[in-house]
């Protein structure tokens, strides 16, 4: 049995694929499809369970349709590819064939945010959360570390309904456990204060750096990791929103339609009176090429810029 520490030390993509491997090795009905996308930790799956692994080729729409057919015949399917291609390119296939029939298929997208920054706007995963969020039946998981990535595979295997898992890579600091289990949908990384950061995915550990910066100056800011972007857990309103004066929603996704929009919608519905600031990616397509860090600086999503944004608010709201 692996401890939290063992899992946290893994690359989150490896942690996810290890869990998928474990699930598939005990259930022959689990099938893994890829649109010719590789991952080192996936090779073991391919080698050990070739009958459950199929490279569909560069045909994402067909991958979703074949996934639907497999699921209609009782299979549980992971369909893996680059985030914008396995989501937005296949939007209708997902809507009609997975969601409207509520089939057990997990779409696994890599290249979250600007992680494929150098490959240009076609590869940027900055609109996928906004677009996928419009599908009523879908569950969206945006894990932020190896623990939540591993849990994402388990959550899908448990619910067996249409799920989008937005997968990242790299190792991240320990972010703790949710109050009950990963079924909670969010975890409080730093206790809720008057001013809180609500974030998801890759930006959670960046936000932790922001919180730690202010902590070192004696200012307490709460940090909430919403790794299940849809549906937002019911408890979120009572446990976070209504207790907050100010929330910064930090996400590596367009400010148009992502987590920030979702939090504002809930605040409006709950009439919580919370001030909400969206810190995300500008509503545009970036016809430019560069590293993830470069895009973050451009979007004021680097730790320094994020600290400045929070500091500005604090300066204006001194008691």
């Amino acid at each position: 049995m692996k401890t939290d520490q063992d899992i946290t030390s893994l690359d989150m993509r490896d942690a996810f694929f290890e869990k998928v491997y474990e699930i598939a090795s005990s259930d022959k009905d689990v099938v893994f499809l890829t649109d010719d996308m590789d991952a080192y930790s996936l090779r073991k799956f391919k080698a050990d369970m070739p009958d459950q692994f199929i490279n569909i080729g560069v045909a994402e729409q067909n991958m979703i349709n074949v996934s639907a057919g497999l699921a209609m015949a009782g299979k549980i399917v992971f369909a893996y590819g680059i985030a914008p291609f396995v989501t937005m390119r296949c939007f209708e296939q997902i809507k009609v064939n997975l969601c409207s029939m509520n089939l057990g298929v997990a779409i696994v997208g890599v290249g979250a945010g600007f992680s494929f920054g150098f490959d240009g706007p076609t590869h940027h995963g900055i609109h996928d959360l906004s677009v996928m969020r419009t599908l009523p039946e879908i569950t969206i998981l945006n894990p932020s570390d190896a623990l939540s990535a591993s849990a994402s595979a388990e959550i899908f295997y448990e619910i067996k309904t249409p799920t989008y898992i937005r997968l990242d890579k790299g190792t991240y600091p320990y972010l703790g456990q949710p109050t009950n289990s990963f079924d909670d949908g969010f975890r409080i990384v730093k206790p809720v204060q008057k001013v809180n950061i609500v974030t998801t995915g890759f930006m959670t550990s960046k936000s932790l750096e922001v919180v730690q910066f202010f902590e070192s100056k004696g200012v307490k800011i709460g940090l909430i990791d919403v790794y299940r972007v849809k549906p937002i857990p019911y408890e979120f309103a009572d446990e976070v929103l209504k207790k907050s004066q100010q929330i910064f929603v930090i996400e590596e996704n367009s400010v148009n339609g992502g987590l920030g929009t979702e939090v504002i919608e809930i605040a409006a519905k709950e009439n919580s009176g919370t001030a909400i600031t969206k810190l995300g990616v500008e509503d545009k397509q970036f016809i430019s090429y560069g590293s993830r860090e470069w895009f973050h600086s451009l979007s004021n999503l680097d730790v320094h810029s994020l600290c400045n944004s929070v500091q500005k608010y604090l300066n204006m709201n001194r008691d």
Partner: protein
């Protein structure tokens, strides 16, 4: 199994009955796609009454059933009539067709027993069928997966992604049937590119190819039986006539979704009786 004269007559009678049911419902509610429904009525009747499809009327989800997926879901009314006759749905459900909030509308959905998948957007179902046929192969089960496509539907790129995939994976028991009525919603289909040398195209993709008269029950029976026994996927090109069975509707592009007048209904009824 060869179709006997008696069985052929039964199928002819059944097709007339289905067409009349379709006519009555469209006349009753003023909605429906009569032309494209009539072009595939004989095919649908063959599936359910011609010993093609293995199914269990009391258990529409029987695991070993043959699957029939419909791409051109707007031809649903013929299927509803068949489902009523087979007992999948009740007479009262059938009569809900076209009513606001009724159980049956202008497309198919899985809330209706016997329906395999939701329809409405063209070009998806061959990929779904390929997935089902792949699952059958993985599970070493012998059921067949039939996919009925409209000919205009074959312009969708996703149809060709599925053709490529099924050919590469040599999916036994996957049978596509193209309702080749040569008319789309607004126009006559040109043969210049899409269907030109179609047999060679399909063979090149690793598919078997059969061409039949989609209104001749003997040919339908022989074609589909052959398709089931071939190695790898098979495409059956069924040459049909849009509006088949009613003289003034046949080959008329306007009958994609026109609703007949009272006078036309009475003529059509006579011709179908």
């Amino acid at each position: 199994m060869k179709l006997s004269n008696k069985n052929e007559q039964n199928l002819i009678d059944m097709s007339k009955w289905v067409r009349l049911q379709v006519l009555d419902q469209i006349a009753h509610v003023g909605k429906g796609h009569i032309g494209g429904t009539y072009s595939c009525t004989d095919l649908l009747v063959s599936f359910y009454y011609g010993n093609i499809l293995k199914f269990n009327a009391s258990d529409p989800k029987w695991e070993l059933r043959d699957r029939l997926l419909i791409g051109k879901g707007h031809a649903c009314l013929a299927l509803f009539a068949i489902f009523k006759d087979l007992g999948f749905i009740s007479e009262s459900t059938f009569l809900q067709y076209g009513k606001d909030g009724g159980a049956l509308g202008g497309q198919l959905d899985i809330n209706t027993p016997g329906v395999e998948c939701n329809t409405g957007s063209l070009g998806h179902v061959l990929g779904l069928g390929a997935g089902i046929a792949l699952a059958a192969k993985m599970d070493q089960l012998k059921y067949n997966t039939f996919v009925l496509l409209g000919d205009a539907e074959c312009y969708e790129g996703s149809v060709w992604e599925a053709i490529t995939f099924a050919g590469e994976h040599c999916l036994d028991g996957l049978v596509g049937i193209i309702d080749r009525n040569r008319l789309s919603v607004t126009d006559e289909l040109q043969d210049g590119a899409l269907f030109n040398n179609f047999e060679e195209k399909m063979n090149g993709f690793g598919w078997n190819y059969i061409e039949i008269d989609g209104h001749n029950f003997v040919e339908i029976n022989e074609g589909l039986n052959a398709a089931m026994n071939y190695k790898g996927p098979t495409m059956v090109m069924a040459n049909t006539v849009k509006g088949k069975g009613v003289s003034f509707m046949e080959n008329g592009v306007e009958w994609h979704h026109s609703v007949p007048t009272e006078k036309e209904i009475s003529i059509a009824r006579k011709e179908l009786s």
